[in-house]
Point group: C2
DNA sequence: CTTGCCCCTGACGCGCGGGGCAGGGGTTAG
DNA sequence: CTAACCCCTGCCCCGCGCGTCAGGGGCAAG
């Protein structure tokens, strides 16, 4: 099994890079991992799961800061025993609902802004709106 | 009349700051202005007009680089004799059509991306789309 | 033992439109 | 003449999610 792995393997298993893992650690999304005697990081499979969750949430538009403020909840999502989540496509609405709602509002505002911009811009070309 | 003015007055007349005018100059949106013997920049009213045009185009979402690549055309728009433009709300479609079309495409892509993101995010809250 | 890949920390880069500050000199009203 | 502004250049700062060196050390196979 994939017991203990070094940062490169863990990152590959999670679909990202060593740089990203160190970055998440620095920003508090990942706990400081065990180190070998020589100072190299060692990760278990639960960290890979957690990184996957982090990346899924980031891909949904949440920010690193959003996740850092809820990093203790990421623990729950990454743990083995399912607590009404842990399956792909469900990240625990109760836990992330507030921050997701905030992101939704921000997205709506941004979409509205860009749409207004697009319309203003189209007005100067002679109405090209399909 | 407002013959020759220093950077602070010119910036205020154009609705911006001295810092912005120096920045536009450095990026090639404004020609290097006349200097006094002591090295202070002096602007005429045509520069104020030109800065207004620049800010209008930036507000429409064009980038500084877009404008820099067409800076010679900004001259025409800022000149006194009207050449089928020079009025508010019309910035010369023939001149800026290519770059505006490019921006429109970029805006559409971005709007689509954010809309997809919004929908993916909404799916995780239990359908809140109004 | 060597070779070649992996890992470490620390610091800078990016894109964008400027903001802010430091340290110096100009200008003008009283 | 002096105070109170204004202007000059040059430099670092912002947000965000990392990428990319630079300069060193570790680790397993041959």
């Amino acid at each position: 099994m994939a017991g203990r792995m070094r940062i490169g393997d863990a990152a590959a298993a999670a679909g990202t890079t060593p740089r990203a893992l160190r970055f998440y650690e620095q920003r508090g999304l990942l706990p400081p991992p065990v180190r070998t005697a020589a100072g190299q990081r060692e990760y278990g499979p639960e960290t890979v799961t957690r990184v996957r969750v982090i990346r899924a949430l980031l891909a949904l538009g949440l920010t690193v800061e959003d996740l850092a403020s809820r990093s203790h909840r990421l623990d729950l999502l990454a743990s083995d025993p399912p607590r009404s989540c842990a399956s792909e496509g469900d990240f625990g609405p109760d836990t992330f609902a507030p921050v997701i709602a905030q992101r939704l509002a921000a997205l709506d505002a941004e979409i509205a802004r860009l749409t207004r911009l697009r319309e203003a811009l189209a007005r100067h070309t002679g109405a090209v709106v399909p």
